[in-house]
Symmetry: C2
Subunit: 260 residues, 2 copies
């Protein structure tokens, strides 16, 4: 599981405050704790805290890079903010995200390639966010075709089929499992598949249970990455256990410790 830690995001009030005051302590703390919890990437999203989002993104990345070597996931819908992040990033990097629209892919794929970055591509196009299996897989195929056209390493593409909250449409999880299954066969090697996990339980009362149950079922269906709360120990335990069950880590009696 490529766990992308979600917590350094200006939507959270402590991070928002830290960005406004340029106070590095809470950011450093989250960077260290999330790394220790098993994050493969640290998602960095400035939210709406800063007047100058480019500056805020560069500040956050610099602060994080002073305390950990964990790769950064630059999370912004704005191209100039992504570019600002890419300027200061020192290690492996993931861009989150671009739409599965040919014109947008033609901008982001060369940019990512230039910086040796991986790229999260959403199954969203001009028609909006598809609600069924077929349209999602069709956009995933467009993304894969564009990646090939740009001679982009497919193992650096992360397809995000858009996980909606369960209280919005209860048919969606089953559709997503089917999408995970189909995307695995879209190319050889296949792209990664990623979801924004916490969105699944938005507005519900059993957030942790819903998140970890969905995630283990999703792992069984082929999901291999998620933007998630790595500080939720039960969620990380369930993730490790699911991967042991799929024989992705060797079983030992102390597998939770061993995998960590």
């Amino acid at each position: 599981m490529i766990a992308i830690a979600e917590r350094i995001n200006g939507m959270f009030s402590d991070v928002k405050r830290a960005i406004k005051k340029k106070d590095p302590s809470i950011i450093c703390d989250l960077a260290i704790k999330q790394t220790e919890a098993g994050a493969k990437f640290l998602d960095v999203n400035v939210g709406t805290a800063a007047a100058d989002q480019c500056d805020a993104m560069q500040w956050l990345i610099s602060v994080i890079q002073e305390v950990v070597k964990t790769p950064i996931c630059i999370d912004s819908q704005k191209l100039d903010v992504v570019k600002a992040g890419l300027e200061v990033v020192k290690s492996e990097v993931l861009i989150n995200s671009c739409k599965g629209e040919p014109e947008e892919l033609d901008v982001y794929l060369p940019l990512a390639k230039k910086h040796n970055a991986s790229l999260i591509c959403l199954t969203i196009n001009k028609q909006g966010v598809p609600q069924d299996v077929h349209a999602r897989v069709e956009i995933a195929a467009t993304i894969a075709a564009k990646a090939m056209e740009h001679d982009f390493d497919m193992t650096k593409i992360f397809i995000d089929p858009i996980l909606l909250p369960i209280n919005v449409d209860q048919k969606q999880p089953r559709y997503l499992f089917e999408v995970f299954n189909q995307v695995k066969y879209i190319s050889d090697p296949p792209p990664h598949i990623v979801v924004g996990l916490s969105n699944f339980s938005q507005g519900t009362k059993e957030r942790s249970l819903l998140n970890r149950t969905f995630l283990t079922m999703a792992i069984a269906a082929g999901l291999d990455s998620a933007v998630m709360d790595v500080l939720d120990k039960d969620l990380m335990d369930a993730t490790i256990c699911a991967e042991v069950i799929l024989n992705k880590h060797i079983y030992s009696d102390l597998f939770l410790k061993a995998v960590r």
Copy 2:
């Protein structure tokens, strides 16, 4: 999920003692608690506690039927013990189990039909317990064909593809998920698929985590029944949650309570 409660089994020392002393209190207590926890069937296995296993089976069933109406699952490898149980059972009943061997099926299917019982059939034959997907599905197909031959209601057949402990062979869980997927297409309507869940974590140190993680992944792959520890609240919560995710129960904020 057709949860078959595992606890009334002479392998457990308290139940063994109760059978030996013909002390109904612990049995009644387990029957009530497991029913309240959501058991659809109460598995009854005399183990090795009694000299006369037929008598012990009849005593257990009678004691249980005095306190709950929950259907009984008569669990014995011995035909005479099964028959003794069938004599006293008052409600819906499940027989656990017979092998997927034509000669044995020709005995058990008519017996089950006569008593309007459901029947757990193991994917075991004269060659032993198969370790791969193909041989398990082949035996499942034999079982389904025999059921049709005996004009036996397929929705009363429970195929058990034999879940081995994860510390015995780590490739098995993935094989089982594939078996679950394939057995769904063996007939229309398909038979149920059942596993003895606790066997999966036999001898491990993370029993509850392994059981519930396997179960949620298995539900995603099509499993719809398990002989399991219904008194493990985390396991039952995960089961309910997985079924809500698959849209088998309607989502509400209090879904754990609502489904129970």
